[in-house]
Symmetry: C2
Subunit: 367 residues, 2 copies
Amino acid sequence: MRGSRDVRRPATLASLAAELGVSRTTVSNAYNRPDQLSAPLRARVLEAARRLGYPGPDPVARSLRTRRAGAVGLLLTEALSYAFRDPAATGFLEGLALACERAGSGLLLVPVSPELADVTAVHQAGVDGFVVYSVREDDPHFKAVLERPVPTVVCDQPLHVEGVDRVGIDDRAAMLDLARHLTGLGHRHIGVLCMRLGTGRYDGPADDARQNGATYPVQRNRLGGLRDGFAEAGIDWAGIPVHERFAHSVDAGQAAAAELLAAHPEITAIACTSDILALGALRHAAERGLAVPEDLTITGFDGVPEGLRSGLTTVRQPVLEKGRAAGELLLERGDRNRPRTVVLPTELIVGTTSAVPRSPERWFSGW
Amino acid sequence: MRGSRDVRRPATLASLAAELGVSRTTVSNAYNRPDQLSAPLRARVLEAARRLGYPGPDPVARSLRTRRAGAVGLLLTEALSYAFRDPAATGFLEGLALACERAGSGLLLVPVSPELADVTAVHQAGVDGFVVYSVREDDPHFKAVLERPVPTVVCDQPLHVEGVDRVGIDDRAAMLDLARHLTGLGHRHIGVLCMRLGTGRYDGPADDARQNGATYPVQRNRLGGLRDGFAEAGIDWAGIPVHERFAHSVDAGQAAAAELLAAHPEITAIACTSDILALGALRHAAERGLAVPEDLTITGFDGVPEGLRSGLTTVRQPVLEKGRAAGELLLERGDRNRPRTVVLPTELIVGTTSAVPRSPERWFSGW
DNA sequence: CTGAAAGCGCTAACAT
DNA sequence: ATGTTAGCGCTTTCAG
């Protein structure tokens, strides 16, 4: 005997009602409003349901009727699987999942084909709202999300979108602190590694035009924070080499660090706009036999567990809190008034990967 | 001007059709079957849609009509957020996400209240099928999933469910190998740390009755593999202390190791049924000043990145592949014939946490 | 290439 | 406490 598993949705609420000789409302109530019918009748209904293999009200039909899907959609820049690979994303999602859990809402990961502009997945998603995690300003999927008549909350990027709530951090201020830390230590020749700045797959040096044209405000702001901090110490941003990597991975960071140091051997510090890249830089240093921080200072951004474990000097941002805040903004919106922005605090973590530079510059730039 | 964001689903396919003086079919076709109407007409439709702020066909209504939700549901034992915290789960999900991505299917994380038997979330989920990740045999959520008239694939547990595909590994055989490794090194006094065996929150020694009554076949099999392996070396399972932990965390492993060693100081090796627990045991050893593997051998199971990085002796299982296989089983089912079971290979990884025991037993048990 | 008709399965007023 | 009446918004034969 195979039970109800192989029947193709044999029973519906209506058929059950007919079978029992009661109205559809009664059957519906048996499931949704137990207090609206007598216990014995309800028992009869449920018993008949079991007997006929009726699995309860169809969720899709119910959603259509109630205009509630019971789920929030999540849109990521990257491929879906990236969500589980990047530690910062993972932390964010954990927080978001926590909020969903509390609200009894499902979390639908929307399958976006990374660079393909196939937006159908966004249209397909039966959700009550979207959380958008750090996508570029002109992302077509994001545009599609905005067209859907459901509330949306953005994490990090894009900034300032009409009618959309946002949760993020002050990337610029956080990076400014980090820049001061570096210049305070005495670094004057600093290289920068940053994440992708544009749409196209590009790896290499990023000149000023490219930096300013970046469609990722977060990267723009982190670079901006560095620039401001360096300026305070009299360091001209024009002299700072910035290398960009399309892929966000330890390998990419390693390669970028190699490239950067090869082109600019005078560098005493590498500031990375993410911990992942910094971990790559660390690996490159190890491979090259460079002592960190004695020969080379390396800093990150994010404060992911693996970075912290490596003693990385970095900025810790509350990724889990970001996720939770995003979820709450979306789900517990009693005040649908005007858009809210939540800016969470960050913290400069001085680890063991930053120190006073070996002092060639002292010799040469002194008195 | 606020654009279309604040309108409450103003336009529908029908209203658009009326506005344009065409039939609903035509509007529908404009979206779903571009080849079924003239280009200019289609353009007119799309233009009017834009003008009226019509976001395209409602996904829920479409799902009701087409009987396709375009998403697969994921059921976990633990709270939703656990999915992002446990490295083995994360790997599984990455694989599953990959498969979903390929199939253009969304992935809906079903919000289960861990121990609460509130099954509504399962009923609420608008999905075309379920992937069930390692839940206990009598999980009420799982029961609810089985009642839904959609295909289901199980990962790991429960075993053998009528009409349900499954992907897993041979836990027993894998653990048998590990047991042989331990006895081969000469260990005779071995303690075991295992994950939760039952429904209730229990931490402590697990006697035979408890082991046999476990509702988690995976744990049962892993313990069984150890028992078989020890038996081969003439070690009686009755003399093997097994300690169980409800929570699956490094902290729990640490506490359990402390408890185990306190109660059984003669132990020379701790076999853990997961890497997470083993990492905890490692931490306890460090804390106690026990050298691993000189003073104490510790082994894990899973082969999660952090375990491997720590040099753990363990069994590596292909978590990502499991996820992918589960997704493919569910999504690419051309052969809806009889249930399939996919058993993936595992590999014994001998790391730096296992070695020949310091030899008190040699002195005492010798000639 | 376009339209008319017929529901998909359900819930929510509003009666009774 | 139970039934009647209307759809929710869409797709899909089947005719024209």
